[in-house]
């Protein structure tokens, strides 16, 4: 620790801290234009010049890279400092008079007009002021090493190698981010050559998946993270005080012994892009339900505002039910939740915009507690509900463009009329479908699926949470489409079932087990390899096979294979089955 004086303030601070940091701690402002926390001080703008007095000597240094020493006195506002700063700023100001950061800084330093006339005067508002922040960012932080300076003096400029597009550039955007004048810009090339106004997705490489995420822990997208491309950056690790960020972390397989398992793997949203008539993925302003949900979220990409792609409030919104569900070509079942969330969307759009809202439905299924009342309330809000499945969504003809960007064609089956409704935005209510890897999960636990592909419960009425495999339970949309109250009810029931076994401390198992009749066993070992549970062991001393009853599940494969009929299956002995056959022939 050293003690220094900054102007009239006396502070104690670690040796080797820069004057700029010390001043910041003391609450004293020092102007800077090329300084950034991200990289080492560059000291090129010279605006942070201060006077350091040590004994009888005084000298001018740059605060950003000058380390403090015991007993020095720093003057940040002496006449000499003011005079130097003013000249530096006037020179900068004279060259780039219209750049916002330069004007603001000049104003702060009390300069209205520069006294000089620059030969290289640049009138642009987004001129490059040669602060070098982009160069430092690219070389020191990103470690891509693409940007650099060329020439010297008034010819100095920021360039790419050989003034050509560089392969080393990873398009991270760090230079755009630090550029104080906006001279470097990101140009996003959209698939249609249009500029997207917003993207529905995370904006940074490290992000919290959603604000409702449990646990609420950020994740790193290694595909877009600079560190995983160049090994540089690590800014998130630098700013994380508890040092929680670990780039070395890898996926790992952890084995945990458990007695019971609840499978609640949820659902996948039906991809509507194969249904070309609705234009999803092809037309702008056609959204899937989850995308629209994201837009409505106050922490989403539009901060909860309902906006079309060009950033305007829609004049009308169409909400189309049953996309992929109740459809012979896709899923015959009803997805159950869509009618109610479609009504919720209508309510929220009504709440946040003045748009006209159309609902296109096959049947309005307001089946739950308070749901029908909500439907009536939506009708009172003036939402137009039209019974009929939409035939197609097309881009509006140019004559209709002033009414809506898209056109929804449909038959109103109650009025018996063909409709062609211009709208600005279309929201599709996609079906809930089983997760695409549900078959692999199912086979892992040897549980069955129903014809719709969702996991099958042991009994639809009497045992709706357990499965054919003991100790494996299912809940939520993994078992079938259901809304949140139903999921909570089913999951609570499954949890209670599991707890009841834990409380009991022991489990009852089916008495169906295989057993070796030792006097008949010839020790041929045929059964040993057949058992999928490795329950049969060979007793070397007796030269016979033996069934471990705790491991045996009673399938009887070994019983059927035993050539000397030494293996018997309790409950399904040869004698019993032969008697059954005999009995059935009567």
């Amino acid at each position: 620790m050293v003690t220094i004086n900054i102007d009239a303030t006396r502070i104690e601070i670690d040796e080797d801290t820069t004057i700029l940091k010390a001043a910041e701690k003391a609450g004293i402002w020092i102007p800077t234009m090329c300084y950034s926390e991200y990289f080492e001080p560059y000291g090129v703008c010279r605006l942070c010049s201060v006077e350091v007095v040590r004994g009888k000597r005084s000298r001018i240094v740059t605060a950003c890279n000058y380390p403090v020493r015991e007993g020095i006195t720093v003057l940040t506002n002496s006449e000499k400092v003011k005079w130097i700063r003013k000249i530096i700023m006037e020179l900068t100001f004279s060259r780039w008079p219209n750049v916002k950061v330069v004007r603001e800084m000049a104003e702060k330093l009390g300069i209205e007009k520069p006294r000089f006339v620059s030969l290289e005067r640049d009138e642009a508002e987004d001129a490059c002021i040669l602060c070098g922040m982009c160069v430092n960012m690219c070389n020191e932080v990103v470690k891509a090493g693409v940007l650099g300076f060329a020439n010297v003096g008034i010819k100095r400029e920021v360039v790419l190698p050989f003034n050509e597009r560089s392969d080393r550039c990873i398009v991270c955007g760090a230079c755009v981010y630090v550029c104080p004048t906006g001279h470097i810009k990101t140009v996003i090339e959209d698939y249609k050559g249009k500029k997207p106004e917003f993207t529905l997705g995370p904006k940074t490489a490290i992000y919290v998946p959603t604000l409702q995420a449990v646990p609420r822990i950020p994740v790193i997208d290694t595909n877009s993270c600079i560190h995983f491309k160049t090994g540089g950056c690590e800014i998130c690790a630098k700013v994380c005080e508890p040092n929680a960020i670990n780039y070395e972390m890898q996926d790992e397989i952890v084995e945990i012994d458990v007695g019971q398992i609840l499978i609640s793997t949820g659902f996948d949203l039906f991809d509507a892009s194969p249904m070309a008539q609705y234009g999803y993925g092809r037309l702008d302003n056609v959204y899937s339900s989850l995308e629209f949900e994201m837009m409505l979220n106050s922490t989403g990409p539009t901060s909860g505002k309902v906006l079309t792609k060009d950033g305007k409030e829609p004049r009308s919104v169409a909400i189309i039910h049953c996309i992929g569900s109740r459809d012979v070509n896709h899923h015959p079942y009803c997805s159950r939740v869509c009618c109610m969330y479609a009504l919720k969307y209508a309510h929220l759009v009504h709440d946040r915009t003045s748009a006209a809202i159309y609902q296109f439905y096959i049947d309005m299924r307001a089946f739950g507690k308070g749901y029908e009342e909500f439907y009536v309330r939506i009708l009172d809000e003036g939402v137009k509900v039209i019974r009929g499945k939409v035939a197609e969504v097309v881009e509006a003809m140019s004559s209709q463009k002033d009414e809506g960007l898209l056109s929804v064609r449909c038959e109103d089956t109650l009025a018996g009329k063909l409709l062609d409704i211009p709208v600005d935005m279309v929201v599709l209510c996609n079906a809930i479908e089983p997760r695409r890897d549900s078959d692999a999960v199912r086979r892992l636990f040897s549980i069955s699926k129903s014809p719709d592909g969702f996991f099958l419960e042991r009994h639809p009425k009497l045992d709706p949470t357990s499965t054919m495999t003991d100790g494996v339970y299912i809940a939520g949309c993994a078992q079938g489409p259901k809304d949140i109250p139903d999921t909570v009810a089913q999951a609570s029931s499954a949890a209670a079932r599991m707890l009841s076994f834990i409380a009991k401390g022991e489990v009852e198992i089916e008495p169906v087990r295989a057993m070796v009749q030792e006097e008949y066993c010839s020790g041929c070992k045929i059964c040993n390899g057949l058992c999928p549970y490795s329950a049969i062991e060979f007793l070397e001393d007796k030269k016979i096979s033996h069934v471990n009853e705790a491991l045996c599940k009673g399938c009887g494969t070994c019983v059927a294979a035993c050539p000397s009929s030494a293996m018997t299956g309790h409950g399904f002995t040869d004698k019993q089955i032969l008697a059954e056959i005999e009995g059935l022939m009567v």
Partner: protein, 146 residues
């Protein structure tokens, strides 16, 4: 009276038996000719059971199990799929048409599939007619044969 085939069905407890149960619960109409014996797994079906069923006068035998990969016991149905083709060749030696023996996969949710297989098989056996076997006098013959 028209010929009503007697078919013995060996159904695995987890898939096919549940599927047959579903066919009943769903009120799917199917031929009543298949007489069901439940086994824990189709792998439990000893080939001798099938021969015994034919011997005792069954006109057909159907073994139903889970789809491959879906076996509750992981691989019991793979054992079955290896046994049945051998058995088909064997029964031909006895003068039994191999079409009288079938191996089918019916999952717990395929009630309609169960009904379809039962109907198909009943019709096929009906066309084949009653199974006539030369039976040694010492072996007990079933009381009534249609």
């Amino acid at each position: 009276m028209a010929f009503e085939p007697k078919i013995i069905g060996f159904l695995c407890n987890w898939c096919s038996y549940t599927g047959a149960d579903l066919a009943g619960v769903s009120r799917i109409k199917s031929a009543p000719n298949v007489r069901v014996i439940r086994t824990m797994c189709s792998g439990r079906v000893d080939p001798s059971f099938i021969l015994k069923a034919f011997q005792l006068g069954a006109d057909g035998v159907v073994v139903m199990g889970c789809h491959l990969g879906d076996c509750h016991y992981q691989e019991g149905n793979y054992k079955t799929i290896r046994r049945i083709p051998f058995l088909k060749r064997l029964i031909r030696e006895f003068g039994i048409d191999p079409r009288r023996l079938r191996l089918e996969w019916v999952s717990a949710s395929e009630g309609d599939q169960f009904a379809k297989i039962v109907n198909e098989m009943t019709e096929e056996i009906r066309k084949l007619g009653p199974l006539k076997l030369y039976i040694h006098s010492e072996i007990r013959q079933p009381a009534a044969h249609a």
